[in-house]
Symmetry: C2
Subunit: 334 residues, 2 copies
């Protein structure tokens, strides 16, 4: 840690970015291209991929960089495998040096309003969208003897959860569970595992997510981030929002360069990281202890306030459930 | 907390136990019957259910207790729903008062040896085996206005993970993610959420699990629990093992009675609980702080030792992979 461990450098490396046509994925892909990496992005929408390619080409540092885009749905195992196969084709069949698994989506809602389909879809859009690529790439890295990197993207909602996130948090916690196992197991192969825990990402996905988010969840988050969702939607990727956004991307790459296992982005993220670290390798043992002590005092207070807000919302919520036909007519649940 | 909050009492309550024909589930069902609860158990195997019914009948305290067994595979959404429907039939269609979600299985292995099928099967046997029952029962409890309890069963491997558990930990972490969201959300309904984090459960499932467990994982666990797996298999549910086992069951029920959100079983469990608690409601703020401080010192040391053991296993592991045809012939990966 102190004896000049060489920082990871993306220059000349083949970096594979899923969800690379928008949001955090595109931001990372552009930054990696600027740092001289070969960049392959994959995403569903061809039109968005074409637009992203213009940005990536503009970020290119040398004509030798191989920069390509591919259209696949990586939340399906077979497609994730096919995407990786295609991506490797441009590099003589060799595994990428680093995976940045940014594909994913959030679809919040009340648990009692979920269905088999919605729950499974959410697990697919959170956990499987990253696990399938990690599985296919791990096999290839190990086979080819590539001492590479796999970077998962969870969320602060992989550290804790609140009302409205029952379809989302399980998948983000699951990503942490996978990363924790692999961080131990891949010592066998000298493959580095990293996992990022960003807070709100001001991306097109966030605007979509807020359209279906329960009112009580929006209210709790409003006081949390200090950003009114309508304001965020309006100012998306402009002004202050852009600064926040660029900061997220720089932090992710810096965390990976420094070899951090858990990459967090701000004070809140650091407090939750330190307060839930258990046996996960830390970033700075002294500072982590300070964050953990702050968490021990502040988080129970914050949590009590959230519970209070939820309780105050109970009457309105029961009216909502009644209007959806989810209560017995006697109103016994009040 | 200190002002005589009434302890939850299973007497006269309808308790629904999945995985209730063996292991922790059966142990809990027997204990609940002894405490005067109506008990419904569900499991796959009819023969095991019949045997379990003999134990449950022997534990009955009064002829009025409704004690029944049902055969369903609750890791499928439709079956979990049908099981609950059947169970409620014996209680005038009313939702159970408490769910104990003990159905589940562990199938460890190396990540690079997993397939789409094995990964999905593991998620089904861990996360979905509990989530589907929780979903069906939540809808019913909310509809009927039952201020009940839902008790999830994770594992200490829902707090951390090591080599060999990449198919298992994601599902156990996911259960925690769901429980964390619901613990906040169900303040709306006065429904209590609990989640247990047992260590090794000396059940028939554990013997099966050890048959496919990687050697390196067995080795790490050997020094951890002080129990040699062969010894455990031999002494299963006898002598010392039985004491450990009964202790697990008593702790689970005591934790639920006391209203603990995270129920842990021993010193190690308490250290991990306190060291990963974040904003989860704690059990005892002073003691949790002590456990957390012990964790801050001991867990990084333990973790370094585990990493060392994994690293020492690398050569043997690469020979194993080569024998499975999972390395390129050049041996580039050494």
């Amino acid at each position: 840690m102190f004896f000049g461990k060489k920082k990871w450098d993306p220059r000349g490396k083949h970096c594979y970015v899923t969800g690379g046509s928008a949001g955090l994925g595109l931001g990372l892909a552009v930054l990696l291209a600027k740092r001289g990496a070969h960049v392959s992005i994959v995403a569903r929408n061809q039109e968005r991929l074409d637009k992203a390619m213009l940005e990536l080409e503009a970020a290119r540092q040398s004509p030798d960089q191989i920069i390509k885009a591919y259209s696949y749905s990586v939340d399906q195992a077979k497609e994730a495998e096919a995407a990786l196969e295609a991506v490797c084709g441009a590099h003589g069949g060799r595994s990428p040096d680093a995976l940045f698994l940014c594909a994913g989506k959030s679809r919040p809602g009340f648990f009692v309003e979920q269905t088999e389909e919605s729950m499974q879809m959410c697990m697919q859009e959170t956990y499987w969208a990253q696990a399938w690529s990690a599985l296919a790439a791990s096999k290839r890295m190990v086979r080819d003897g590539v001492k590479g990197k796999i970077v998962f993207v969870a969320s602060v909602l992989g550290y804790f959860s609140i009302v409205g996130y029952s379809p989302y948090s399980p998948g983000k916690f699951a990503i942490r569970g996978l990363a924790e196992a692999l961080q131990s197991e891949f010592v066998l192969y000298d493959i580095g595992i990293h996992i990022c825990f960003p807070g709100t990402i001001l991306s097109p996905g966030y605007v979509e997510e807020n359209k279906v988010k329960p009112k009580i969840t929006l209210k709790i988050e409003e006081s949390d981030t200090g950003l009114n969702p309508e304001v965020i939607a309006g100012h998306l990727l402009r002004g202050r929002s852009l600064t926040v956004y660029i900061n997220l991307i720089l932090t992710a790459v810096a965390g990976v360069e420094k070899g951090q296992f858990h990459v967090t982005y701000d004070f809140i993220g650091n407090v939750f990281r330190a307060s839930t670290r258990g046996s996960s390798p830390g970033n700075n043992s002294l500072l982590d202890q300070v964050y953990s002590m702050i968490g021990a005092i502040a988080l129970p207070i914050w949590r009590k306030d959230v519970d209070k807000q939820v309780r105050a919302h109970a009457d309105e919520h029961h009216q909502h459930l009644a209007s959806q036909g989810l209560l017995v007519s006697s109103g016994a649940s009040k």
